[in-house]
């Protein structure tokens, strides 16, 4: 019985410490890049937020679509109005789990597996990236490809700014421990 008490006390402490072990974004950077015959298109979003629960390794990311900034105003308008229909679908969300990562210090590769909801379409995806944990700071980065047709984003045949069928997404998130109120 005594043996169990040790175990229980230990588990209790584990519980206490694990409670509130969440990391929230301090800064975020998402860039998409599309190479097209006419001109390359690039847009940056620095308004995304994300949170990771260190116990379950669950991760969620919310990306406000209208916050993608394009070098050209009209591209941004077309992106929102015609391609992503951001009035109808103002946010993209990723809900998933960090697999093959145990939360250790230092740099290590990691995979996020889960559902990306974009343009009203939910799809299972797997993103390979890297996580760098240094004490309190957690940096995550990944580069991956999204196929527009997977998310029912239609590209008309005759448009001025031609967009490629696939876009390359670069994501960087800097996390800090999240203090629960």
């Amino acid at each position: 019985m005594k043996k169990y008490y040790y175990l229980i006390t230990l588990l209790f402490f584990v519980c206490i410490t694990s409670f509130g072990q969440k990391y929230k974004t301090e800064e975020s950077y998402i860039k998409f890049y599309s190479s097209a015959p006419m001109e390359d298109i690039e847009a940056v979003n620095e308004s995304s937020t994300s949170i990771i629960d260190m116990d379950s390794k669950n991760i969620v990311i919310v990306i406000p679509i209208t916050s993608f900034e394009f070098p050209k105003e009209l591209m941004q308008e077309h992106f929102n109005e015609n391609y992503l229909e951001s009035d109808k679908y103002p946010k993209a969300t990723f809900k998933g789990k960090l697999t093959n990562w145990d939360g250790q210090e230092g740099k290590s590769s990691a995979t996020a597996e889960g559902t990306l909801e974009l343009h009203g379409v939910s799809k299972e995806i797997k993103i390979d990236g890297e996580i760098d944990k240094k004490g309190d700071a957690l940096n995550m980065s990944a580069v991956f490809i999204i196929k527009l047709e997977d998310y029912k984003i239609k590209i008309p045949k005759a448009v001025f700014y031609k967009i490629a069928e696939e876009v390359e997404v670069t994501a960087k998130f800097d996390y800090k421990p999240y203090a629960k109120n």
Binding site: Y4, L7, I8, L11, F12, V14, C15, S18, F19, K22, K24, E46, S47, S48, T49, S50, I51, D53, D55, S56, N58, I59, V60, V62, P64, T66, S67, P71, K72, E73, L74, Q76, E77, H78, N80, E81, N82, E85, S86, D87, K88, P90, T93, K95, G96, K97, G114, P156, A158, V159, F160, Y161
Partner: protein, 284 residues
């Protein structure tokens, strides 16, 4: 053993499920301002200005035509033989502040304007509000017209709301000071209120309509300007094709000096075509 399993359960309970995390994240709010985009597709509703401004460094070239009336018949090729045009250049000094110049063939009017977006529809504001001021000068040789008599000044407050992704509405209180009026029945100061609406049929096509009733006493010969048309967007270009009883394309002209009656068939076919050039494409 049972206690351990209970504790393990609790342990499990402490870690957050994905949906809970999402709720937590959304309860915090985002940095997203929720700005309304493309309330109108162009800087014009049809004849009059829309709340839209061009962004910093964008130069817009706008060319507008109004042909003759459709009821002029076969001999006039249903109005296409007659054309009145305006060419203009508009520039975004900042995202909110635009300036522009234009010249119309009708009465050889030269106009210049300044436009400033005061308020932008977002999570914090229900409407977009833009102030507009212009000066229009008739430079044609017209008997009895000289000096400052040639000028008219317009001030407008453009207030628009995008109700949903398809429907936008604009209300435009307007004051026009005309230094010399065409008839004795007219007052120098003209009050009018513009009403404009846009309804999107598809991602690239929208119906627009515009009506500018005059509020102050006007001479019998003048009519309120009315217009209806379609906006077709091709990426980079916006084509606005429309039917209107107004033949002029500056505020003094179409609001105050429209003489034809839309409902009598005095309808001009017309279009505005805009092309935007980004003079500072690499701005950050």
């Amino acid at each position: 053993m049972r206690r351990i399993s209970i504790l393990l359960l609790l342990f499990g309970f402490n870690s957050f499920a994905q949906d809970e995390l999402l709720e937590l994240l959304e309860s915090e709010g985002t940095a997203d301002k929720g700005y309304a985009i493309a309330t109108f597709k162009s800087t014009r509703v049809i004849n009059g200005h829309s709340i839209e401004t061009r962004s910093n460094g964008s130069l817009e070239f706008i060319i507008s035509h109004r042909f003759g009336t459709l009821n002029s018949g076969y001999k006039e090729f249903w109005g296409l033989d007659f054309a009145n045009m305006r060419m203009g250049l508009e520039y975004g000094l900042t995202d909110n502040l635009n300036i522009g110049i234009g010249r119309s063939s009708f009465d050889k009017v030269v106009d210049g304007f300044i436009k400033y977006r005061l308020l932008r529809q977002s999570n914090n504001s229900p409407v977009t509000m833009t102030a507009f001021a212009s000066i229009a000068r008739k430079t044609a040789e017209i008997e009895g017209l000289s000096g400052l008599d040639r000028n008219a000044y317009t001030a407008q407050l453009l207030i628009a709301k995008k109700f949903n992704s398809n429907f936008s509405l604009q209300i435009t209180p307007t004051v026009i000071q005309r230094n010399l009026v065409l008839t004795e029945d007219d007052e120098n100061l003209l009050l009018a209120i513009g009403l404009g609406a846009r309804y999107k049929l598809s991602n690239r096509v929208a119906i627009v309509t515009e009506y500018y009733p005059q509020l102050s006493g006007k001479a019998e010969q003048f009519k309120d300007s009315f217009a209806v048309g379609v906006d077709i967007e091709t990426g980079g270009h916006v084509f606005q094709l429309h039917f209107t009883n107004a033949v002029q394309m500056n505020e003094r002209g179409f609001i105050g000096e429209t003489t034809e009656d839309f409902w009598d068939g005095d309808i001009h076919y017309g279009f505005n075509i805009t092309r935007v050039f980004d003079l500072r494409p690499n701005k950050k």
